[in-house]
């Protein structure tokens, strides 16, 4: 069990001399506290698996350091790091029974037989694998196999952290939910640091207390699910998280006002002093844009389609050339295409070159 510090960590598969833009992981510095549940979220190819493999020691970084509890383990082998990892596809040892599979990491480390038996029993109970202990692992279903992989990680009492690399890819949707709750329960019970890589925002947001969003080899935001939702630090986080994603539109911002399509929107904070050369956009989540009946003085929009999601209805609207998603308030039924939209000023964010700008009070 350990706190994990990444210090200026970066990696390129073609060596340290490669151009900075080609790095699979661009330099990152961050701290992961002991006992936390973290998710690394991002589309495929964003560098999340690279980051995971750097931590587990499968890949040695081109640059920077990794510290476990303050001790530099950058050059240490995977075995020395005391890491457990669960892979995308279940890895089981074909010739062994479920019990032997679970005992394998302990046997390799020369743990006494009695202790192994006790430990295996405990983990098998926890994962509900006890009835299968004497069965060959080959013939089990994918989710049982993935539980065994997970069990091999949990069976060691001394692991610094457990890493998950999209572990639920091959699992049926219904079982996915079960396994995820199981993981969450295990996390609470065992007080382990868990790092979970996924491209599925639901998985990330339900599992983790801190979600690290990655894009193009860079960590773009690290925060609680609520922070990611309410205050995306990067336009990418805005539209990657949330369904539908955040509305991002170009605007002219001056002081406490933003102008879109010739219409002025009042902002909550003061944005004087934005550099003139950068691309200025405003972002607002569909949940904070309401469709209302057209009226003078409101930003007019034309409705293209309304999606009824049961609890909530979202309209696809067009303002000038820009398409937006907006909430249709309960009880409101628009007549025809013509409508207007109203923003909640507290949730309108301003982005300069994709990065969030904190305005002055």
């Amino acid at each position: 069990m350990a706190r994990i510090d990444l210090v200026d960590l970066a990696h390129s598969y073609s060596g340290n001399d490669a151009p900075p833009e080609s790095f699979a992981l661009k330099p990152v510095t961050m701290t992961w506290r002991q006992g936390g549940a973290y998710a690394l979220l991002g589309p495929s190819g964003c560098g999340k698996t690279t980051l995971l493999n750097l931590i587990s020691g499968i890949v040695t970084p081109s640059r920077g350091k990794i510290l476990f509890d303050g001790i530099d383990i950058t050059q240490a082998t995977t075995q020395k790091r005391n890491i457990a990892q669960v892979f995308q596809f279940p890895v089981i040892y074909d010739t062994m029974t479920v019990g032997q599979n679970l005992a394998f990491p302990l046997k390799n480390r020369g743990v006494p037989a009695a202790e192994i038996a006790a430990r295996v029993k405990q983990i098998a109970d926890l994962l509900e694998l006890t009835p299968y202990l004497d069965r060959k692992a080959t013939r089990l279903t994918a989710d049982a196999k993935q539980k065994i992989s997970l069990g091999r990680g949990l069976v060691r009492s001394d692991v610094a952290a457990i890493l998950f690399d999209e572990p639920l890819t091959v699992i049926d949707p219904e079982l996915k939910w079960q396994l995820r709750s199981k993981l969450k329960a295990l996390h609470r019970e065992l007080d382990l640091t868990m790092i979970y890589v996924t491209h599925d925002q639901t998985e990330a947001l339900t599992f983790a207390d801190t979600v690290v969003v990655m894009h193009d080899g860079r960590v773009v935001q690290s925060g609680t699910p609520a922070e990611l939702f309410e205050k995306p630090a990067h336009t990418f986080v805005g539209y990657f998280i949330g369904s539908p994603g955040m509305n991002i539109m170009p605007a002219q911002v001056r002081g406490r006002e933003a102008r879109i399509d010739g219409h002025t929107i009042v902002l909550n904070r003061n944005y004087d002093g934005l550099s003139s050369g950068s691309l200025i956009e405003i972002g607002v989540r569909p949940e904070f844009v309401d469709v209302v009946a057209p009226a003078p003085g409101l930003l007019s929009a034309s409705i293209e389609r309304i999606d009824d999601l049961g609890r909530i209805r979202f309209a696809r609207v067009r303002v000038g050339d820009v398409k937006l998603a907006a909430r249709v308030p309960p009880g409101f039924s628009p007549s025809g295409d013509a409508a207007a939209i109203v923003f909640d000023p507290a949730h309108v964010h301003v982005y300069a070159d994709s990065l969030l700008v904190e305005g002055a009070a």
Binding site: S56, I58, T77, T78, Q79, I83, A84, Q85, F87, Q88, F89, V91, Y93, D94, T95, M96, F104, P105, N108, R109, P131, Y132, L133, D134, R135, K136, T138, R139, S149, R152, G153
Partner: protein, 300 residues
């Protein structure tokens, strides 16, 4: 993926069926026909019933003695080369370079012996082993060993076995290499994380994953070594004496040398049957060994 039942598929298989039937069934019928007859030349044939088969399996007759001796000799040969080539092939496959041009270079050199016509393989070793003009024979004699594969039984066996190892270990190695290549990296990474030793990785991951290809390798090597003809024939001609006369060599001696068609045909059938049976045993044993043993614990 469930296959659909469709008898029309027979039309797709028909060409193969016809061509193999033409090449196999017609000649086989000829063989069966010969095997129950005797000939005195001039295309005169007489019904002989199971006489040849009786003679063949009776070690007190000349034919039976020769046949049974060649079968034991051949089984011994197959056992020896399997015992050498399978482990050696695995070791070579495990020693293959990881990446880069060396991989292609190694593969090309490994495959080279496989594409040399079998009589040329014989020729190569016939030359290589000769004490007067061959490097191997010369060196062995220079270091004080009295090596001569033409006159000494043991030397002849040594040469024929070494030649087969040279010729066919590559096949085992390439099959194993293909099996090893198909193991996803995650297995090695997981084993690393589980703290497995090199030997444990081999036993827990590599060997089980090579199971299928090893089965193919053992079957192919057994079949081909039990059918071996050309290479030892070129090198030793079956001698000295009869010490390297394997079943095929014996068969050709009888069929083409003495033109004893009945005896040769009976021998062919028994010979073919032995190969089928041994292959079937190998296949059953090896697939069962890998199969699941009955569960001891209860199943929820």
């Amino acid at each position: 993926m469930e296959k659909t039942v469709d008898q029309k598929a027979w039309f797709l298989v028909l060409p193969v069926f016809l061509i193999v039937a033409f090449s196999a069934v017609l000649p086989l019928m000829t063989v069966v026909n010969y095997s129950v007859q005797d000939t005195f030349g001039n295309n005169q044939f007489f019904w002989n019933g199971v006489g040849w088969f009786k003679e063949l399996l009776d070690p007190n007759t000349d034919l039976g003695e020769r046949f049974l001796a060649s079968v034991w000799r051949n089984l011994l040969f197959s056992a020896i080369i399997l015992a050498i080539e399978v482990p050696l092939g695995i070791v070579v496959a495990l020693s293959m370079p990881r990446q880069g041009w060396q991989v292609a270079a190694c593969l090309v050199i490994l495959a080279l012996p496989l594409l040399i016509p079998w009589n040329v393989v014989g020729t190569i070793w016939q030359i290589f082993g000769r004490p007067d003009i061959g490097l191997l024979g010369y060196v062995l004699n220079e270091i004080g060993l009295n090596y001569n594969y033409v006159s000494n039984d043991l030397d002849a066996w040594f040469t024929v076995v070494l030649m087969d190892v040279w010729h066919w270990t590559s096949l085992v190695a390439l099959l194993c290499y293909a099996g090893l290549k198909s193991i996803p990296d995650a297995y090695y990474q997981a084993a690393q994380i589980d703290g497995a030793s090199r030997w444990a990785v081999f036993k827990a991951i590599q060997l089980p994953k090579m199971n299928r290809v090893l089965l193919i390798a053992v079957l192919l090597r057994f079949m081909d070594s039990f059918m071996i003809y050309t290479e030892p024939f070129v090198v030793t001609g079956g001698g000295p004496g009869n010490s390297t006369t394997f079943v095929s060599i014996e068969l050709v001696k009888i069929a083409l040398g003495q033109f004893d068609l009945g005896k040769a045909a009976a021998l062919s059938l028994v010979y073919n049957l032995i190969i089928l049976i041994v292959c079937w045993i190998f296949y059953t044993v090896m697939t069962n060994a890998g199969a699941e043993r009955p569960a001891k614990g209860g199943i929820a």
